[in-house]
């Protein structure tokens, strides 16, 4: 094992900040430190100008108008603002929200809170491949439905939902459509106008920008959407999100969006090729299952279950050299295996055996070659230790064994 380099394959958790982004941010900590809301002096003007530029860069990436960009502290806050803000603003129209079982906790827990406060929430199931069933979605829409909140791309399995078809259903039934696009924006083409998205949350740190900054896109025209502010104060961001703007991070997020837009096409192709190499090599190992949809998914990642191997143990065989994550219970604080994988209908055993491998801008082919070898060795090592692998190889039906659940 080499100890001099740590390979980072957990880009769905967060990405490093691109040095070009850091460079753009630095002057806004010191030289141009002004408050973007200070209208009467050059310090404020410089800050405001920089925020305007960033707003334009971000709007350009997603095909929006700059006035539709509301800055927040991240995607979690943007999800909260969108869902709670719509629930409050449109409560006279209805109190029913539709979402997916596989959404991020920022959406699910927000919905659960609203449920406790009297809203009605439908949590749609997904197919084994992670996709929403459009007929089920349409059947779930009622006269009192005010919002459909369906993620663009899933953080664990990378499945990309049929966004245009969902928005068509929402338009047909005159329901607002919100999408948590944290894992998609900057990595694959996302155009809110073409796709008919009314509200969309995303964050800086998943696209080589800084942490602590995110965006809620709020449509201004057809339909003109409003959300009730969840943060009260100076009335920033068209009254939807008060708080002094985080100028350096906003500048960074703008720059990050600009770079993503310029490099998207080549990066998508490069990462897909690397991912396909990684995946096809790993799937040559016996008893490996691909989780999610083989086609409708993000190009930079894969989620695989290595049967009869426990994920955290597997990670420990190489985590001095490779950083990635697992859906195993042992890697979570709750000691529950991934709810996303369970929602696909995977048994707990397969959820425990999963690895999520997410590549990024700074992943090289050499990294992938190293990872393939290390993961293969790790799986072999863990299977040599695994009594259930031995039983499987002896032809014992593991479902027929009486296990002592604990």
């Amino acid at each position: 094992m080499r100890n001099n380099k740590l390979i980072y394959l957990d880009n769905n958790a967060t990405t490093p900040v691109d040095p070009r982004v850091v460079e753009a941010m630095v002057p806004y900590f010191t030289e141009h430190f002004g408050n973007a809301a200070s209208r009467n002096h050059p310090f404020g003007w410089a800050a405001e100008g920089a925020v305007d530029t960033a707003r334009q860069q971000i709007a350009d990436l997603i095909g929006a108008d700059p006035r539709e960009i509301i800055f927040t502290s991240g995607a979690t806050e943007a999800d909260n603002l969108a869902i709670k803000g719509v629930a409050e603003m449109y409560k006279r129209k209805g109190n029913h929200i539709i979402t997916l079982e596989t959404e991020h906790k920022a959406v699910l827990d927000t919905c659960k809170k609203l449920e406790r406060e009297g809203c009605e929430i439908t949590y749609l199931k997904v197919a084994r491949n992670g996709l929403v069933d459009l007929a089920e979605l349409e059947a779930a829409i009622r006269p009192n439905t005010i919002l459909v909140s369906i993620m663009f791309a899933n953080n664990e399995i990378g499945v990309v939902q049929p966004i245009k078809a969902i928005s068509d259903l929402c338009s047909k039934h005159k329901v607002l459509f919100m999408s948590d696009a944290t894992q998609a924006v900057g990595k694959i083409p996302v155009n809110v106008k073409e796709l008919g998205i009314h509200l969309m949350a995303f964050s800086g740190h998943k696209m080589y920008g800084p942490k602590g900054v995110g965006v809620l896109y709020v449509s201004r025209k057809s339909p003109r959407v409003k959300v009730t502010a969840q943060m009260d104060g100076g009335g920033h961001e068209r009254g939807m999100r008060s708080g002094t703007l985080n100028v350096p991070s906003i500048v960074g997020m703008g720059k990050a969006c600009e770079i993503c837009q310029q490099e998207m096409e080549t990066e998508m192709a490069r990462l897909e090729k690397l991912r396909d190499k990684l995946e096809s090599e790993l799937m040559q190992i016996e008893e490996v299952v691909l989780n999610g949809h083989p086609e409708y998914r993000m190009p930079h990642m894969t989620n695989l279950s290595f049967k009869h191997v426990e994920g955290e143990g597997l990670l420990m065989t190489f985590n001095q050299n490779i950083a990635l994550s697992s859906g195993s219970a042992c890697t979570s604080a709750s000691l529950e295996p991934s709810y996303v994988l369970k929602a696909l209908g995977l048994g707990d055993d397969l959820a425990h055996s999963s690895l999520r491998i997410s590549l990024g801008r700074f992943t090289s082919e050499e990294d992938i070659d190293y990872a393939i070898a290390a993961i293969r060795d790790g799986v072999n090592h863990m299977r040599d230790l695994s009594p259930i692998w031995e039983m499987f190889k002896e032809g014992i039906d593991l479902d027929s064994v009486e296990w002592s659940e604990h």
């Binding site: 426990e310 143990g313 065989t317 042992c330 707990d348 031995e390 296990w403 002592s404």
Partner: protein, 128 residues
């Protein structure tokens, strides 16, 4: 989560990995846990019938690093012990030796269960 050196050593170079012939009269086998729970331990002891001392112990474990290290340590401790001595191994001894964090204490409990279950299997096979 940062693990102790001892735990990492047992994980990376586990002791006594393997399989004893479970049909042999002087071999006791304990299989505890469940794949759905994320850990399964199989621990086996081979007993010297004259002296009643455990002369060999083997394990295989499906589980996290702590589960593997706990079972590896357990097999080390079992060798050379009488059945009575073996039954008195407490999960907290394993916790202390490997410095298991609180969320991993269940791994040591599973190892203790595996030891007890292997002893019980040996005893019932031999009418003890």
């Amino acid at each position: 989560m940062a693990y102790s050196e001892k735990l990492l050593d047992h994980f990376k170079k586990p002791k006594n990995v393997g399989t004893l012939n479970k049909d042999q009269k002087n071999v006791g086998t304990g299989l505890v846990g469940a794949p759905e729970c994320g850990d399964v331990m199989r621990l086996q002891i081979e007993v010297d019938e004259e002296s009643g001392v455990i002369k060999d112990a083997k394990f295989k474990t499906f589980g996290c690093g702590s589960a593997i290290a706990s079972s590896s340590l357990a097999t080390e401790w079992l060798k050379g012990k009488t059945l009575d001595e073996a039954s008195s191994i407490d999960n907290m001894d394993i916790v202390e030796e490997l410095e298991l964090p609180p969320v991993k204490i269940h791994c040591s409990v599973l190892a203790e269960d595996a030891i007890k279950s292997a002893i019980k299997d040996y005893q019932s096979k031999n009418g003890l």
